[in-house]
Amino acid sequence: MKADRAGVLTGAHYLDGDFACGEGAMAAGCRFVAGYPITPSTEVVERIARRFPTMGGTFIQMEDELASMAAVVGASWTGTKSMTVTSGPGFSLMMENIGLGAMMETPCVVVDVQRGGPSTGLPTMVGQADMMQARWGSHGDYELIALCPQSPQEAFDLAIHAFNLSEIYRVPVLLMMDECVGHMTEKVVIPAAETIEIVPRKLTKKPVAEYLPYATNGNDVPEFARAGDGYRFHSTGLTHDERGYPMMSAECQNKCVRRLVDKIRGNADKIARFDEENTAGADVIVVAYGITARVARMGMDLAKKEGARVGFIRPIVVWPFPENKIRELAATAKAFVVPEINFGQIVLEVERCAAGRAATVSVPHAGGSVHEPADICNAILGAIK
């Protein structure tokens, strides 16, 4: 369906990535946000707190990030699209109820504007070191979706996409921004509501007597009933059967958790989204995401001047990882070069998919600033030698 006009601030704006992300969420139909202040993400909720009372939305500043994430999962069970926003230290606290969201199959969006870590780290400066936490941060097996914008415009666009994916697959979707994208100000074009495609919460039409909250009937995800519509269903963080009832057995565990994993893995190619440039005939392929993708382009330009044949992959959906794309490119390229503002996270995925058929070069950065383009250029040139 098309976006609700009340949440769409149509026009050309000059916005930072945090504000743009907030606008994207409101355009997507988000009407409940719970959050706890943390740099460099706070501007997202500040924007929302100002605008929500004019569109029927409720923002609440909770006592901590544990509560924020729990409230978001709770609110989503009313059918109200829900989101929370944080940075590294808060993201760590949210892991508990991100797991609950995954287990209960609750659509919601979590924004992490990444700063330098570990611990309190660099509150006001950039990092990209939460990427593996996004994949593995909560205990147990589950699969989520994570997106990485490279600009304020994309923060807007991907906030909408994040909500849409969360509705389709009934999972928490993580919008993995970084401090640079969050705090840079650029032109952001918000289109007319009639041109924004959003996925509404789809409610079950089954009669109450026939409804089982976790029966999929051969589909990837079960049908949703919201609290207060008379279904009187049960949902739990325990391993559960199709009735939503706890069932402590290896057999039920296998059925319940396997489906949580398969609904994402089985649709990975459908969920995948990446930019691909000049990969045909390239000797070296740079893989970069978020702000580093933009710095990498500068490094690639320098390398091209030196005669290097360089291609580029920018994962926009980072989780599930675009495995098949990397496998395909590993057959033709000599090497992958992976700059990221961490000591090597996504490069591990690239290396796994390349499986020795192409070399993999990590270009790590501890955080606090972006890479020097020359360092990326040198890594590219070094990879060809």
Binding site: A6, F32, P53, D64, A70
Partner: protein, 303 residues
Amino acid sequence: MSKTTERSQQESLPGMEHPVGPLLRMDRMPHIWCSTCGIGIVLKCYATALQEAEVDLDKTSIVSGIGCTGRVAGYMKLDGFHTTHGRAIPFATGLKLGRPELLVTVFSGDGDLTGIGGNHLIHAARRNMDLLVILVNNFIYGMTGGQNAPTTPVTAKSSTMPYGNFEPPFNIPHLVASCGASYVARWTCLHVRQLTKSMKEGVKRKGFRLIEVIAPCSTLYARLNKLGTGFDLMRFYHDNAEVRHDADTRDVGIKFQDSIICGKFVDEEKPTFLELMEAHYRKALGGRYVPMPAEGGMIREQD
């Protein structure tokens, strides 16, 4: 599984329905609680209160955390959520704010609500959040094997305080009353009629309402402290509970095997979180204010 089915069929024989059967998930019986545990009594009182208060059960949600009492949400035939340890209150907060017309009850234990969830408890009370909280206090972590709780009385033994507890416990009514709760009561699970009446009031009131219910943990608290069975603890409540409505909450702390002050301590009309929010935005924004619809913020297909 087959045993469960047999039993639920037996219990649905004509004329044999449990009085609150329609509010229970009979297909999940038998429950996990020990013999002479008090939680079942509290559950029965709550179900009776819902029936007598004639609330719209379709619009009633129940949220539990983790622990023995945490299982209540799974046994009631309501929209029920069994959440993470300590997070029932924030989960319920989201549920209530996401669809303000819902009656949302948090039903959980002392460890869950005052230990790991203590921060949420005081903030929900401070906000006068529209939640009814039923806190079953058995003075111990039962599910995990009898460890010390923030409610364990001084000198009482627990598996992690084998020589007796030396940490001062919370006085729960005083804690939430001082934070701003609008309704605070305490009963033991022997006080079935008073407790049910309190719950009926709680269902009808607005804002943050907390009812503490003292209940026996026969398997752990009673055994570790050589207090007999749950029946012996019920007798103890009978002999030692003192009803003192409007008691100063500073005076209702619980000592080991000492008197238990019961009654309604706080019953105040004051604006709730939702009322404060709505009144404030109306004043600040005038006609520009659009409150969340009572039935929630779900965006529907427009005509």
